[in-house]
Symmetry: D2
Subunit: 277 residues, 4 copies
């Protein structure tokens, strides 16, 4: 691919492993990232984090700065949310990931979390990519819902060009004419990305489909297609979530998901990240 | 769904099993349909049919009437192709499926084959659907590449309304802005269709992706997502195929695919149709 | 364009004029085709035809065979509708256009009407295109809502290859992610088609937008972009129409539209087909 | 529309006129904004600005911070480009517009230019929208190529909610399956936006189509559909432009465009902004 220089894969074994405090992503095991769409309170965050950790998740996700279509929707707890994330990390030992949307916020987000997330709407926010490239922080780069695979990989190249190659690509659905799902999860991108690029790739079936019942089948399909992991939304009380409750798994739904992940991973010869089993 | 009456699923066990001469599709096993894009000669067809049968395929596919974008492209062998299909069936015992595009051709296609295929471009060819509804023949109804799930299910309802419920739905990719693949295989449709509709659903990763290397990962993903089977293109000499060679598997590629299918199917508790193992 | 042979434009003046009983389409004047979505009765059809004729329309449109997403929706009056069209033609002198969906219906449709219409869903119904190619009848070939410009022109080439070059291309909106309109009217296709191809091109703003209030602005935009005419839906009582009433113009709406058409056409140096003024 | 509060149109006359140093946009006249894609040098900028001014343009456009898919493409002259814009403004008297991509750059962009531009990729860069809302500067808000009309208007509401209602909406094409043009110019959005929202709306046919020859027909179509103006790319030597040369008009192309704009505007009863004629 034209202009994919630093991240281009020349031979099969030429891969980048992302290292999160010793947790390896992109090697021969599946990483499961779980947590609520938005951080709502310390009690909510801690309850969810402890539950997903006990069921097998190894990274906690939760939004503090929320990109919302309407200015009148809940915009996230902001810095207060970051501080909650930091407490969750301290109490559970789970690394935490949260979204950053503004070049001015990178430092404070990094102060309280382990992994930066660039959301779909900011995939081509080039100043943000350039600033993140100057840090050494691991980053999850979501594919824009109207971005081609080529544009996505070149967005990653912006980060790498700054000196930071600790990038996890995340497919989260593309916008199509179909409206039965919020977006269309493009699983074909996984083998293509794996062929072209050295980076690990995961999927986010919760945002892609917007439907709780689809999270498990699309997670299993992602892993069967070759993904290095998934990021899913889990909530202690989905019906009362401040955002995206309808697509969040309950704890028992997440337990069922993990059972499926273990079976499929084993069938294709992979383990689960952070599990010794 | 509005107007999905005959095919609407009211409870989980309420499913239609399609019966092809005793071969059951839609029950708890995976069907594998394989063969060339176009029938080119009796030798080609027989060689491929015998090979895929020996490797585990249970239905043979091959085009006689080919819908081609350009009037100057190879349009298929027509009736001669149908006769070849019929000989393949006689010699191998495999049921055969081939596309019908014209209401006037239904009888002759049925004379020589076991399963009708309605292609993506004819998914809303309502006179064709109505005529097929009057037959009792099993039919594979491909999703239009620009059709919503709702339109697809209502196209099936057209057939069912005529008295024929032996319908296999086939997802073959939808048209999106992404061009790295020919179309975008929409695997989310599988759990949605399974939830709404009584019919079995399979996928066609060959046409969806247009890339040989993607057929295996997308087949495995399809099965993990809950599909009842797949339809793939296999050719004895892909580089010389008269159509779609670049997306056809070689025999050894098909063998590798079958290995993966067996593993994934087992992991989710399903067998392979036609295999006693 | 590859394989656009008979219809390819080599130089600016190399155009095909479609001749409908002496009415010329594709020359330096704008044709206005108007009528109801569906023929419902002789009274309805005649009332609308007389009204639109008196206001400046020169061709009458009305559906007899209707392609409907659901098998439970009104499917058109069929042959009875064709007979009504024929009476409208006799009483008003307006040529009539109606859709044909089945190769078996071409003869009867031609018996009762002047112009065949191939609908968006049948743009790649190749047997239908081939059969129409064998007639000498003028045909309106709608662009599929899922079809590229290249596929559309090659569909026309199918007709031309049979010996019939009396083809009018009709853009009627493409399917995109935007849902504020039924489809997205792709007006950029007009100058592209005019550059590549010898055929006249019109638009159908009624079906494209699905919103009555958008018909006038999109008609004027079509003409400004270089279209040779428009096809619009007009109904004597839109709220009671059996199909597509919400997008049909009233008579007074059609009068207002014609006023706009006259002004814009004049501004770009074109006349109105059939008007001596 | 849900949550369109400050910008919602309640009655026809309820419109916001954007005032650029006395130049009114959104009243009954057409504004023409012209200039190169990127500012390359003071000589280039001045030559183009003087030419387009003499031919009827009333605002000068030119990129200093350029959002480019590849990190290896020309990224714009940055602050140096802003200073050139400022000199162009001083020497020609034309107000200037340029893109801002980073919250940290708003102040410096405003120091050197009159109108901020939010590009398609930043339409949902909410921190940027909020910061711009705090200024009183006029802003051109481009529609994201992946954004619905609803999302676009709510992005404008973000700016308005900060206290700044001097917003000009700009349609610049949406991403669809069609590739004959770079994007698909969605002209139907114009009457819809005019119906729902109090803001003026213009189009950018240069970026939408990516083809020089389409700029004129799509400009005329935009005006016929009700747009308040257009923004087009003009270059003194398109073949040597550092970006987007193939879609830039030459001076003589721009002259021809202005002739067409004058005729169409007159036909629909509008004048040209800044022209006394």
């Amino acid at each position: 691919m034209r202009d994919l220089r630093l991240l281009s894969k020349k031979k099969e074994e030429d891969i980048i492993i992302v290292d999160i405090n010793g947790l390896k992503i992109g090697s021969n095991s599946i990483v499961v990232i779980a947590g609520p769409c938005s951080i709502e309170s310390i009690d909510q965050a801690l309850e969810i984090a402890k539950a997903v950790k006990s069921l097998g998740a190894t990274i906690f996700r939760g939004g503090a700065f929320k990109p919302r279509t309407s200015p009148y929707s809940f915009q996230g707890l902001g810095v207060e949310g970051l501080k909650i994330l930091s407490r969750v990390r301290d109490e559970t030992g789970l690394p935490v990931v949260t979204e950053v949307m503004d070049t001015r916020d990178i430092n404070i987000v990094l102060k309280y979390s382990d992994i930066l997330q660039v959301g779909a709407r900011n995939m081509q926010n080039f100043p943000l990519l350039k600033e993140i490239g100057k840090t050494k922080a691991p980053v999850i780069l979501k594919r824009g819902f109207m971005s081609t695979i080529e544009e996505w990989l070149l967005a990653a190249e912006y980060i790498a060009l700054g000196g930071n190659d600790q990038i996890i690509l995340c497919e989260r659905g593309i916008r199509t004419f179909e409206r039965a799902t919020r977006n269309t999860l493009d699983l074909s991108c996984i083998p293509i990305v794996k062929h072209l690029c050295r980076l690990p790739v995961i999927t986010d079936p919760s945002h892609a489909t917007g439907i709780r019942e689809l999270v498990k089948p699309m997670t299993l399909a992602s892993i069967a297609a070759g993904a290095d992991g998934v990021m899913v939304e889990v909530h202690n009380d989905p019906d009362k979530a401040l955002s995206d409750g309808f697509q969040s798994l309950t704890f028992s739904g997440f337990k069922d998901l993990m059972d499926g992940i273990v079976k499929i991973s084993k069938a294709i010869g992979k383990g689960i990240t952070g599990c010794s089993g």
